[in-house]
């Protein structure tokens, strides 16, 4: 969840409309953002992860203004061509560790503390979301007056890198930063197997930064006196980097800055290039079910910031350079729908003939539940993820459960192989109030099985447990016999040795020569392990197999 806070007065002033809070909330919702909170002087908006271009107050206001119909259409951002020194020389040493960068210079910035806060927030949120917490890209912003152009982007052995990182009082090597600096420790994984670390370094041999970890204290801090900045995005996919750069430079242009391009290898960045997609009006109707007039469709798209030229039966849509979420025409159709207003659609119910159908196993389960409730049994529902020890050692079960990798709650670390552990656990949980119980549960168990696509076999099971002073094997067998009679099925029992049960009082349930379950009196050792006070009788049946046999 990414929340951006916008000054309410600024926003209302920019849109030039007097809107009360309810209307404001409604309009912000309908733009495809979520109004988290509207206060007297501030509006907090949740930005969905597909819109990194809205991660600053300036860009929210830009989008909102257009959504409400003011200054609609493509906003033209222009960049001046690179001056002589405006160059980033990329050394081939970075190719093995962090191959690409896209850079820009912004001049004539009139910064104040609010604008600086805005820039830092944008940079941080882009790192976190679009940059996947710096895994995909990292951004550096530097005061130009402290840097001597041109700039070199290269990679060095960690111990050859030495500079004063931000938030530190001494120079550190690359290795030291990763081991000792808080930012280094946090992001060390991102350079884990690298033999060389990337750096930006200027023509005075000052190290500007070591991406994606940290900037230099000497050149990496933008202040209110800063008029010109150098911006770099580094990472692994040039298109993504340039997109990110476009998002930043257009916000800075909205702040009043002038964008200058830089020569980066054989490219000139930022290109501010827009992409054009031809949108067939019939496709729009096909997806949205509305027969739009060209002019209405044009206006809807322009409200979302697109440039639109109408052609016969189609729209030529020019997409702003800062939009990162338009993969293809269907994304434009969504923008069109939002610009038109979700609340303006007429819900229609098509007349499609179809037959409903429920899975046999679920019909069977529902019948069983009704039947067993009629037996006086109470249904319980336990988690399928349980503690591995509670379902192995504690109940003498030898089957190896499937383990979870990195469960947030370490006590829940395996998938159950039987309902016994959970159901005995329920008895234990209820001890303080109820020492007697007659329960059933229907649920899934999980087993290693290399024949399955996932190497896991899932079984639907029925478990029944009876606990009271007189519970014994006969208690269980009476229930099983009655249940089988109800299902019109014959069964027999075959002696079984199983640590869960008392020897001589347990058996496998055989139906049509197939083992479909177990029945027995729970072993006193198991009861003692769980501190249960009364004897217990237990039945477990495989429902998938049972259903196959009886149907």
């Amino acid at each position: 969840m990414t929340n951006i806070t916008v000054d309410k007065k600024y926003l209302l002033n920019e849109i030039g409309l007097k809107l009360d809070d309810d209307v404001l909330r409604q309009k912000i919702s309908m733009m495809g953002t979520d109004p988290e909170e509207i206060k007297d002087n501030e509006i907090t908006v949740e930005i969905f992860p597909n819109r990194p271009d809205m991660l600053s107050g300036y860009s929210i206001v830009r989008a909102f203004k257009q959504f409400l119909g003011k200054d609609i259409g493509l906003i033209k951002y222009t960049a001046k061509e690179p001056k002589k020194d405006y160059k980033v020389i990329v050394d081939k040493s970075v190719k093995q560790v962090r191959p690409f960068t896209a850079c820009a210079i912004i001049k004539n910035l009139k910064l104040n503390d609010l604008k600086i806060k805005e820039i830092i927030q944008l940079q941080e949120k882009l790192h976190l979301t679009f940059g996947r917490d710096r895994k995909k890209l990292a951004i550096g912003i530097y005061p130009l007056e402290k840097i001597k152009l041109p700039i070199h982007y290269k990679a060095l052995a960690p111990d050859k890198i030495k500079f004063l990182p931000l938030e530190s009082n001494r120079e550190m090597t690359g290795t030291q930063i990763l081991r000792q600096h808080p930012a280094g420790i946090k992001y060390a994984d991102l350079l884990k197997d690298a033999k060389v670390y990337p750096i930006f370094i200027d023509s005075k041999d000052q190290i500007l930064s070591m991406p994606p970890i940290i900037n230099s204290e000497l050149t990496g801090r933008v202040t209110e006196k800063t008029k010109e900045v150098f911006i770099e995005c580094s990472g692994f996919d040039f298109n993504v980097l340039e997109k990110c750069l476009h998002i930043i430079v257009t916000v800075m242009a909205d702040m009043g800055g002038e964008i200058y391009q830089m020569q980066v290898e054989d490219k000139v960045t930022p290109s501010l290039k827009t992409e054009t997609i031809n949108l067939d009006i019939r496709y729009v109707k096909h997806v949205l079910g509305v027969n739009f007039k060209s002019a209405d469709a044009k206006e809807a798209l322009e409200k979302m910031g697109h440039g639109v030229h109408t052609r016969i039966n189609s729209l030529e849509v020019e997409i702003p350079c800062y939009r990162a979420d338009i993969l293809g025409k269907v994304d434009l159709v969504e923008d069109l729908a939002i610009g038109y207003g979700y609340d303006n659609f007429e819900p229609t119910i098509p007349d499609v003939a179809s037959t409903s159908k429920e899975l046999d196993i679920n019909v069977f389960q529902r019948k069983l539940r009704k039947l067993l409730a009629g037996f006086g049994l109470l249904e319980i529902k336990n988690y399928e993820i349980i503690n591995s020890e509670s379902q192995t050692k504690l109940i003498n079960n030898k089957e190896k459960p499937i383990m979870l990798l990195s469960s947030v709650s370490s006590e829940y670390n395996s998938l159950r192989t039987s309902l016994a552990a959970s159901m005995l656990g329920t008895l234990k949980f209820n001890l303080k109030n109820e020492q007697e119980a007659a329960l059933f549960e229907i649920g899934t168990t999980f087993h290693h099985d290399s024949k399955q696509e996932t190497n896991i076999r899932e079984e639907e099971k029925l478990g029944i447990i009876i606990s009271n002073k007189n519970a014994n094997f006969t208690t269980a067998k009476r229930i099983l016999t009655t249940l089988m009679k109800e299902l019109n099925t014959e069964f027999e029992l075959r002696e079984l040795k199983d640590g869960l049960f008392i020897e001589g009082r347990t058996g496998e349930i055989i139906i049509k020569n197939k083992v479909l379950g177990t029945i027995g009196e729970i072993a006193p050792q198991v009861l003692t392990n769980l501190e249960l006070k009364n004897p217990c009788a237990f039945i477990e049946l495989d429902l998938d197999e049972l259903l196959k046999i009886i149907s």
């Binding site: 079910g289 994304d331 319980i380 399928e384 709650s409």
Partner: protein, 511 residues
């Protein structure tokens, strides 16, 4: 007046009546005697006395009293006698005994007993090469005959009220108190009761003294006695204990109700496993491989060998890496080992993907639904569970469109009881356009989220079905709605299997 009395008598609980009968017949003065005479349990007597007191038939008074109880050693001695008495008996039988022998017989308490007996001159001691030898004296013989004050005291019924002790008893207590774990003192509420005038009126009333049939038995039926006698009227307003019934789990009842809605709209239930490959759960839905939701801390990956991947893998890989004429794709390398990870499904949409992949053009149009578990790697707290239920439906139809989606949503949520809903833009990785459904909460005067909806991205249908086809999809979590219905504030209470809660929770009527 008489009628009034009759009404009181009629409304007597069997326990109350029992006590009144005992009080009338035996006039017991203490609670203990009353309990003994009635043969009831202490708690039953207390309960009935409380009721009788409420009806002013008796006066029940509680006073704090110091009570003397026997402690563990005291209980023991009450049964087997004082240790010094036992030593004397032993000496008398054996004529004499050495200290080691006595120690073996009586254990460590022997020291205390010898000291005490010596003080009373009941024994003589003599140092010999075999150790200390003890013999009984004539004073000892007398001591043996006479019942000591302590012994007399121990014979009483405990607990004993400290205020009611005689001087002799006080002496005995002082002596016994010096011994370890003989007595313990506790302050407790002691109840006393007194009958009132109303009591006297009641027991004199004809109705109270008439004999009634208490319980209709086969013998009474057979003998015809029921023709001659009246039945004891019951207090039909009295509370009775609930039945211990069998019942389905209330969450399953809710699931059944919501399933009925889907079935009534002509939807077919989907099937599929809970463990899935990341390929089906994520990649087949065009979720990029570096999407944050796929990280270890959000998803339960399972410790098994990599999953086998289906034929459609190549098409999915290509779409992710390069896109096609209508989509840019995600770029970067699509990794097989990431796709082959096995996980617990994070959404039921994986089942929709599997259905779409299995569909043939001639099967269309089709509608599917599922209500089942999904899994999130989250710490459990009052708002979060790691296993929860999701409801999901899709419509696969060449002619379906976004306006239809809104129509289905309106109909579906009206059946769920939400007449006033709105649909606003949202974002989900695998739908475009995407929408959020909200209902207007009249109490809070605000829109509250219900569920997500959208049309499956064309990349997905192209990868899985072979061509772009409209698929309308919507769904929501179940637990929040069920908690709301049952007014459950801690979501964990849905699945803690508290037998008392399961027995008493109301039935699910409508979600």
């Amino acid at each position: 007046m008489t009628e009034n009395l009759d009404n009181i008598i009629k409304s007597l609980h069997p326990l109350e009546r029992k006590l009144l009968e005992v009080m009338k017949a035996k006039k017991p003065q203490t609670l203990e005697l009353l309990q003994k005479a009635s043969g009831l349990k202490q708690i039953e007597v207390m309960r009935a006395l409380q009721w009788l007191s409420n009806k002013k038939i008796i006066e029940l008074k509680a006073t704090k009293k110091k009570l003397i109880f026997l402690d563990s050693n005291g209980e023991e001695v009450k049964k087997s006698g004082l240790p010094e008495k036992q030593v004397i008996v032993f000496l008398k039988k054996k004529k004499q005994a050495s200290l080691p022998v006595l120690k073996k017989e009586f254990g460590d308490v022997i020291g205390f007993s010898i000291g005490l007996l010596k003080k009373k001159a009941a024994i003589a001691t003599e140092n010999t090469p075999n150790g200390l030898i003890l013999t009984i004296t004539p004073a000892g013989e007398k001591f043996l005959e006479k019942e000591s004050l302590e012994e007399k005291f121990l014979k009483k019924d405990f607990p004993i009220n400290e205020d009611e002790l005689t001087d002799e008893e006080r002496f005995a207590i002082d002596s016994l108190k010096s011994r370890k774990n003989f007595l313990k003192l506790e302050t407790k509420n002691v109840y006393t009761f007194k009958t009132t005038k109303l009591f006297n009126d009641i027991i004199r009333q004809k109705m109270f003294n008439e004999s009634y049939i208490e319980k209709l038995s086969p013998e009474i039926l057979k003998s015809g006695l029921w023709k001659k006698m009246k039945f004891r009227p019951y207090d039909i307003h009295a509370d009775v204990p609930m039945l211990n019934i069998g019942k389905e789990h209330f969450v399953n009842e809710a699931i059944d109700d919501i399933k009925k809605i889907w079935l009534s709209m002509g939807f077919e239930e989907m099937r599929g496993t809970k463990a899935q490959s990341a390929f089906w759960d994520m990649d087949s839905l065009f979720v990029p491989q570096d999407h944050p939701a796929r990280e270890m801390q959000d998803t339960f990956y399972l410790d098994v060998k990599p999953a086998k991947l289906p034929k459609v893998f190549d098409a999915v890989k290509k779409m992710h890496e390069q896109g096609d004429e209508d989509s840019r794709g995600w770029g970067g390398e699509f990794k097989k080992e990431v796709a082959a990870q096995v996980m617990l499904r994070t959404h039921t949409t994986v089942l929709s993907a599997l259905e779409i992949a299995n569909l043939k053009e001639e099967d269309l149009p089709k509608k599917f639904f599922k209500v089942d578990k999904v899994y999130r790697n989250e710490a459990m707290d009052w708002r979060h569970l790691f296993e929860l239920h999701q409801v999901e439906g899709i419509v696969v139809d060449e002619n379906a469109n976004f306006s239809h989606l809104l129509g289905y949503l309106k109909k579906f949520y009206a059946k769920l009881g939400h007449d006033k809903i709105r649909i606003r833009p949202a974002h989900f990785p695998y739908t475009e356009p995407s929408a959020e459904v909200e209902y207007f909460n009249e109490k809070k005067k605000t829109w509250i989220e219900l569920g997500g909806a959208g049309m499956i991205r064309p990349e997905v249908t192209k990868m899985l079905f072979g061509k772009e086809i409209p698929v309308l999809a919507w769904g929501q979590g179940m637990e929040r709605a069920i908690s709301q219905y049952y007014d459950i504030h801690d979501i964990r209470d849905l699945y803690n299997n508290d037998i008392k809660q399961l027995r008493t929770i109301k039935s699910h009527i409508k979600l």
